[in-house]
Symmetry: C2
Subunit: 129 residues, 2 copies
């Protein structure tokens, strides 16, 4: 299959597919006489994996590790689980940060008395000290 087909089959942009190849996530496929990339089902499977992992929020570095691990079928699942756990902890941290931020921002907004900028509490809150 050509790059466009692979891309639409995985809801990926053509440029992104080429990008994944450039950074070594997707192996370079065979080429047609016209120098078009010619992909097989193994490429489709690998790209699907990459996209799914990305959708779950894994970084490309984490995806790279997961791919390496998934290539050695005999290995224990622990390393995979570890990467996922680390990622989950990271998500929890982000949610916590955003929730604290949300609270603070909504307090700032709540103080707005809709007057002029001169006595705008929102601006004031962000002033020095």
């Amino acid at each position: 299959m050509k790059i466009g087909e692979l891309a639409s089959a995985t809801a990926t942009k053509v440029e992104t597919v080429r990008y994944y190849e450039k950074i070594g996530l997707l192996p370079p496929p065979a080429r047609t006489f016209a120098d078009y990339r010619a992909y097989g089902t193994d490429h489709l499977a690998r790209l699907s994996f990459i996209r799914r992992a990305r959708d779950l929020g894994f970084t490309l570095e984490a995806v790279r590790e997961l791919l390496t691990l998934s290539d050695d079928k005999s290995q224990s699942c622990e390393a995979v689980d570890g990467i996922a756990q680390t990622h989950l902890a990271e998500i929890d941290r982000k949610i916590g940060d955003l929730t604290a931020l949300r609270l603070e921002l909504s307090r700032v907004i709540g103080s707005c008395s809709h007057g002029t900028v001169a006595d705008c509490k929102i601006i004031e809150t962000m002033g020095p000290r």
Copy 2:
């Protein structure tokens, strides 16, 4: 004050201060004979504002708008409130996204039976289809 003092007074890196100047967020200060930047209290106030707004998650573009608005003291506070509301909505969206992600990822992790990679449910879940 010199750039290092301004930076440590606002918990900012020196490079970041210079960066803010380059993109026009912080006005270029006077220079000493040795070409060192010499800041006054107005710069300190402005940088504090920028940092506080950044801490609240506003983008630099939003900070730029807020700074413009805060310069016109006679104006109504509405525009300021609007920017903050938009930002709050954005934070809510992110929290929602992350929470959904968290749920899905924890489901994926929960399916791990700690065997070998060959029958690792985490890897499997991210496979094609």
